[in-house]
Symmetry: C2
């Protein structure tokens, strides 16, 4: 039997960290954040079409490993992502991720990519998309509480998508704020380092909390939060991990991605199981109201959902066309006769 | 800031299809099947320790895409696997797979590998392990109903682990039987092609059904199955897909991997939800009896479970040591300062 070359379908494009960085610079980071915001919003508009399931989490003392699958009936995606707050002390990333797209009709993968960077980008894009529907009109000032790996991405997405001009920064570790200030210098943002969370949120239209402790924490208390702000809470994203005092939730209108997941993982894990929330996709698709008044406090209780990864993966796949920012991986066995897997193995001997 | 080289942890060993074939030939296929049987059995003995969950399936008209995670508390694994019976007509594999091992303590992946070949090997090893506990003593004759991609692996595992001498083959497509006969020639097995399933099971001690239709089928009817045989049913592995007439199940004692998954996917989906089954791990660990008498009909209603993949992945990781049967993939972003993901991206520009 002739040993034919494997078919094209047997080779899966793989985007390494290095190639993802090349792709981001090729597209331009702010352009990419705007593009991802549009991609996520387009998929939130057709939310009904997706297979949705809470992520499959494997918890341990040190952290969590999660699989986040979804499908729109034509394309399937999943992301592998971990969250290990103690990793930082060992010089490792708290969150690392990779993801995959596959054809639903054949089950064959069509893209494998790093998603540590891509998750940071899509999380910032999702925040910007939510803020577009929930933040006060003409929001110009962002408070960033928690200046870790997410901080710059959040600031740039809010600038690119909403026109944020000033970012007020606070972190319990001043070195984290210095790092963020350094990275955001000369990006067209007015940067104000602050000595406390309280000081950071003064005059802010949008407050973004992105801290990493895996525990119930109170980054914001009720007395700190004034009328009319939009809170974007992205750090509380697993059971036992929250950032806001529950009294804030009682005053705010809460918007979520996928309630069955957010009730377990989000800020609202502090509340009763029937605590009222609005699904963000309903706002995006015009079925529910976003911000109703200038005085309203809106809260996007964000935990990250599989559909956002799906959007980001499809965006990357599109942007790869015509570039060489990928390798081809021989990950699918492809015998000449599909029933002859053993023969393929035997002939390789 | 100096751009340090990424740490070792940022590069994940990846085993391509080509390298998996090299590894199999390096170890020797029968030696590997025996090694995998031991590895699976060792993990079945410590079944209690594992995080267990039914696989997460995304069904479509054409097939299914599944994620199969598990963990023993120190090591985490998952497999991506599809099942698309119509793929064969397009020259594609019905089942393709890849898998991953990660450290639970950090969430960092430590191995990514093709698993189309590895799944075929571990499925055959699991069948052999079950047969070792359930088949009649001194089983020498195997009937193989369904001569597709799994067939040769099943035959060789039963030979290597149990000492099977004769294999009787039947497939609705004679070309599949011819292919299997050709591949198993000169392997030390007496091969008997048969014109019907009925003819194939004459004199067989073990009957293995491995057909691929995604539908309720009746490959074996009750009158065909004599006293004392062990049935290894591996083709029925998703909702709506079975191979045996339910009357066989009424006469047999049924052994399963993980009941919550098998009741949805296995032969026993035809039976009442409380149809009695024995968990195979209890037999392996000495807590339940396997075969009780010469006349007993035993049935291993196998659907494939995540722990078997975990065992196979760990086996491969061990065998890779000291070889070059892998590439290193730059899949984990690894900034010098873990909080400085953005700085890493920026400096790459």
């Amino acid at each position: 039997m002739p040993a034919l070359l494997p078919s094209e379908k047997a080779f899966i494009p793989f985007v390494s960290v290095e190639n993802m960085m090349r792709l981001v610079h090729h597209v331009g980071i702010e352009t990419m954040l705007i593009g991802l915001t549009e991609a996520v919003e387009a998929d939130f508009r057709r939310w009904d079409l997706f297979d949705k399931t809470p992520r499959v989490a494997s918890h341990s003392l040190d952290g969590v490993i999660e699989l986040m699958p979804t499908s729109d009936g034509a394309v399937y995606s999943f992301k592998y992502v971990n969250g290990h707050p103690k990793n930082m002390a060992q010089g490792l990333q708290t969150v690392t991720a990779f993801g995959l797209l596959a054809e639903v009709s054949t089950g064959y993968p069509v893209l494998l990519t790093e998603m540590t960077l891509l998750t940071a980008l899509r999380t910032a894009a999702t925040s910007a998309m939510a803020a577009r529907h929930l933040a006060p009109a003409k929001a110009r000032c962002l408070a960033l509480i928690g200046n870790g790996a997410q901080a710059e991405f959040q600031a740039l997405a809010m600038k690119a998508v909403l026109g944020i001009e000033e970012v007020r920064l606070y972190d319990i570790d001043p070195k984290a704020t210095e790092k963020t200030m350094r990275n955001l210098a000369n990006m067209g943002l007015r940067l104000v380092p602050c000595a406390s969370a309280q000081a950071a949120i003064e005059g802010a239209d949008i407050i973004t909390t992105c801290t990493a402790d895996k525990q119930f924490a109170t980054i914001l208390t009720d007395n700190m939060v004034g009328a009319g702000v939009h809170i974007n809470a992205i750090g509380g994203d697993c059971p036992g991990k929250t950032e806001l005092h529950r009294d804030i939730l009682l005053r705010a209108d809460t918007f979520v991605e996928y309630p069955p997941q957010t009730r377990i993982e989000g800020e609202i894990q502090q509340m009763d199981p029937d605590y009222p929330v609005t699904e963000l996709w309903q706002v995006v698709s015009g079925r529910a109201q976003g911000r109703r008044s200038e005085a309203q406090i809106t809260l996007f209780d964000s935990v990250g959902f599989a559909i956002e990864d799906f959007s980001a993966l499809r965006y990357v796949r599109e942007k790869l066309v015509g570039t060489d920012y990928f390798q081809k991986l021989d990950i699918i066995a492809d015998p000449d006769d599909p029933r002859d897997l053993f023969g393929m193995l035997q002939r390789a001997g």
